[in-house]
Amino acid sequence: MSSNWGWFAVPRPFTLLEGKAAPLDSDDVDTDQIIPAQFLKVTEKAGLRRYLFYRWRYDESGTLTGKFVLDRQEFAGSKVLVAGRNFGIGSSRENAVWALLDAGICCVVASSFGDIFYSNASKNGLLCVKLLADAVTSLRHRAKGGELSLTVDLASQTISGGGDAVHFDIERHIKERLLSGADDIGLTMGTYEGEIKRYELGAPRYLVPRRRAS
C-alpha cells in the first residue's frame, strides 16, 4: 500500500524530467473535475489516482471505461500532462495535486493555471509549465499518438521533444523551491528555527495548558 507515497510526501528535487506526454483536450479544467468532492473524505494520499478525473473515466455504474487518455495503452506511464488554458481553477483542494502525483504526473503544461492549484502544486513538487497558447496547442497536437517524449529542464527553464527547446518563465522562489526539493516545512526549519526557538524560550509559562487536578 505504501510503496509509492513516500516520494511525494516530501518533494524530491526537480531538475530534469524525461517522460511521455499525454494530451488533455480541455480548457478550464476545475479541481472538482480533477477530483470530485465526494472523494475528499479519504484518510490516505496513496491510491488517490483512482479518483483522478473520476467523472471522465468511469461510467454511471462506476466502471472504468478505459477511454480517458491516461487509461489508454499508448499513454501508459505518462509523466507530463499537456492541457489547455486555466488548468486547476476552482476549489482549493490540495487533493487535486496529490491525485495527479499519485498517477505519476510530475509536470502539467498549460497556457494558464488556477492560482491556488499552481501554488499547491509547487508545495508538493509538481511542476506547472506556462507556455503561450500556440505552443501548448502544438505540443498537444504532437502528443496525440502517444509517441511524444518530452524533456523538461527546470534549471535552464526549457522544454523540448524532438524539435527546438522552448523557454518557459517561472517565478524565482517557486523554481528554487522545486529545485531544492525542500518543502515548506524544510524551508521553515532550515531558515527560521532560531526565531522559533527564541519565541518559545520567551513564552510565558501559562501558554502551555495544564489540566486542573480534580
Binding site: 513516500g6 510526501a9 516530501v10 473524505k41 484518510t43 508538493n124 515548506d184 516545512i185 501558554l207 495548558p209
Partner: protein, 478 residues
C-alpha cells in the same frame, strides 16, 4: 499612530517576513479534528517528522460523529475510520484527543473557549473555516488547510499573508426577540458574502460591549460568511471571568501573569483600519435567510424577494436560489412551512443558545409533521443543560435531545435532510446540498428556530411568545 488589538497580537507572534509578502507567525494553540487531519499526519509520518509541540496541540472529533446513542457502534464505516485514524494518530504523536467517548468532546470552536484552551492574546489555528469564533475571547484565530496544518504540526508556525483590518461597530440595544445571530446576519445581508474578503474584522461598539462572551462568539463565528479571514473582539472582564476555573486555563501565579498581558489587549485610540463600518441594531427584528447564501436574508416580517426585485446583477442568482429553495418569491417569510428544525452548530449551540430556544419551547409542542433536534455544541454544554433541566423542557415539547457534534450543519454524519426537506436552522451556511442532497436550509437564531418548530412554519418568536429566563424555573440539579 495607535495599534489595533489585532496588530498587537500579530506583531508579538511575527517571526519573519518574506519578500513575497508572506509572514511567519508562531501558533500558540493548534486544534485539529478527524476530517482535515489524516493526510497531514500521514505526510508527517512518511517524512519521519514529529509534532513539534504536542503540548500545545489538541484533537477533537466533531464533523462526522453520530449524535445518537454513544454506546452503539458507529454505523458509517467512513466516519468510523476517520475517528479511529484520529485516535491512532493522536496516540502516536502524543496529542491529547477528546474522542467520541470523552466527556470533554465537542465542536472544536465550542470546546476551545469552554476548556480554557483558547485565551486572549494567543494565536489559535484549526483546520476549519469558522476558527474565527475564538476571536471572541481576544485571540488571533486562523482557519487553515491540510498542508498548513501539517506545517503547524511540524514547526508550530504558519506562513500567511497579513490580512487587512476592518472595524465593524454595532450600536444600540438589541430589542426583545433579536439576538447576536440576527445582528451578524444583518451585517452580512448588508455587506454581502464578499464584503469582508481579505480582512480581519474587529467588532466593537456599545452592542458588542454589552454582549456576553457567548454572543460575541456567535458574531465572530458567522462573519466568515461575509468573507472575513478572521474576527476579533477586545477582551474585557467578562472574558477573563469566563476563563476562571476552566479545565485547562491558567491558575495561581500563571493567572496573574496572564492577566497582566490580557489587560493590555485594547485597540489604541487612533488605531488605523483599512475599512470601517457601523450598524445601528436598536430596531432590529429577527432575521431569516431565504436563499442559498447567508447574505440572502430578510427580516421575519418581510416577504421573500421576487425574481428581479434584487439589484440587477443579482437577478440570475435570485432566480436560481428561489428555484432551489422551492419558493416563488413574494411569499411572506412566516408562511413558509418547514419539516425539520436544527438547533445546533458552532454558531449557536452553547448554553445560552439552548436557554434561548427553551424560552420559546417551554410548555409548548413541536408542530405535527415537524422533526426538531437540539444538538448541544459539546458534551459539557449538554451536561450543564441537563443540570438546569433544559433537556426536560425540550423532550416534553417533542424535540430530540442529542449528543454533541456538527450534525446537520454539514450533513457528514447520519443527521441529514431528505431531498426537498426544509429546515429551520441555527447554523451558518445555507448552501445548496449542505445539509444533505436537495435539502433546504433557512438560517435564523435559536429563538426563531424554536418558534418555527412550534408553529410548523417559519415564525416570529415575538408572536409565539418568549419567556423570561426566570420563568424557565431552572434549578441546578446535582
Amino acid at each position: 499612530m495607535g495599534e489595533s488589538v489585532f496588530t498587537k497580537i500579530w506583531n508579538r507572534h511575527l517571526l519573519a517576513e518574506r519578500p513575497d509578502g508572506q509572514s511567519l507567525i508562531y501558533i500558540d494553540r493548534h486544534i485539529t479534528h478527524e476530517v482535515t487531519s489524516p493526510l497531514a499526519f500521514e505526510s508527517l509520518r512518511a517524512a519521519g517528522r514529529r509534532v513539534r509541540r504536542a503540548d500545545l496541540t489538541f484533537a477533537t472529533m466533531d464533523h462526522n460523529v453520530p449524535t445518537g446513542d454513544r454506546s452503539a457502534p458507529v454505523a458509517d464505516p467512513m466516519s468510523a475510520k476517520q475517528m479511529d485514524t484520529l485516535s491512532a494518530n493522536a496516540r502516536q504523536f502524543g496529542i491529547l484527543c477528546f474522542d467520541y467517548a470523552s466527556e470533554l468532546q465537542g465542536i472544536s470552536h465550542v470546546i476551545g473557549p469552554e476548556l480554557g484552551l483558547t485565551l486572549p492574546g494567543i494565536t489559535v489555528a484549526c483546520g476549519d473555516s469558522h476558527t474565527s469564533t475564538h476571536g471572541a475571547l481576544g485571540a488571533l484565530a486562523l482557519g487553515i488547510g491540510t498542508s498548513e496544518g501539517e506545517h503547524v504540526f511540524a514547526t508550530q508556525t504558519l506562513w500567511i499573508r497579513r490580512p487587512k483590518e476592518m472595524r465593524i461597530a454595532l450600536d444600540g440595544a438589541l430589542p426583545n426577540g433579536a439576538s447576536a445571530k440576527d445582528a451578524v446576519m444583518r451585517v452580512i445581508r448588508s455587506i454581502g458574502t464578499g464584503g469582508a474578503i481579505g480582512h480581519a474584522v474587529e467588532f466593537g461598539g456599545s452592542t458588542v460591549e454589552a454582549m456576553t462572551v457567548e454572543e460575541r462568539m456567535t458574531i465572530a463565528n458567522m462573519i466568515i460568511e461575509g468573507g472575513a479571514r478572521t474576527a476579533i473582539v477586545e477582551p474585557d472582564e467578562k472574558v477573563f471571568e469566563s476563563l476562571k476555573g476552566t479545565e485547562f486555563g491558567p491558575a495561581g501565579e500563571d493567572w496573574d501573569d496572564a492577566m497582566d498581558y490580557w489587560r493590555t489587549l485594547k485597540s489604541d485610540d487612533g488605531a488605523a483600519y483599512d475599512a470601517s463600518l457601523s450598524f445601528d441594531v436598536g430596531g432590529l427584528e429577527p432575521q431569516v435567510s431565504w436563499g442559498t447564501n447567508p447574505a440572502m436574508t430578510v427580516g421575519v416580517s418581510e416577504s421573500v424577494p421576487r425574481p428581479g426585485e434584487v439589484g440587477q446583477g443579482e437577478r440570475d442568482s435570485t432566480e436560481r436560489a428561489l428555484k432551489y429553495m422551492g419558493l416563488d418569491g413574494g411569499e411572506a417569510v412566516t408562511s413558509i412551512p418547514i419539516q425539520r428544525v436544527f438547533i445546533g452548530s458552532c454558531t449557536n449551540a452553547r448554553l445560552s443558545d439552548l436557554v434561548d430556544a427553551a424560552r420559546v419551547a417551554k410548555g409548548r409542542s413541536v408542530a405535527k409533521g415537524v422533526r426538531a433536534m437540539v444538538v448541544p455544541g459539546s458534551q459539557m454544554v449538554k451536561r450543564e443543560a441537563e443540570r438546569l433541566g433544559l433537556d426536560r423542557i425540550f423532550l416534553e415539547a417533542g424535540f430530540e435531545w442529542r449528543n454533541s457534534g456538527c450534525s446537520l450543519c454539514i450533513g457528514m454524519n447520519e443527521d441529514k435532510l431528505d431531498y426537498g426537506e426544509r429546515c429551520a436552522a441555527t447554523s451558518n451556511r445555507n448552501f445548496e446540498n449542505r445539509m444533505g442532497p436537495g435539502g433546504r436550509t433557512h438560517l435564523m437564531s435559536p429563538l426563531t428556530a424554536a418558534a418555527s418548530a412550534v408553529a410548523g412554519t417559519i415564525a416570529d418568536p415575538r408572536q409565539v411568545g418568549i419567556l423570561d429566563v426566570e420563568q424557565l424555573g431552572m434549578v441546578r440539579r446535582a
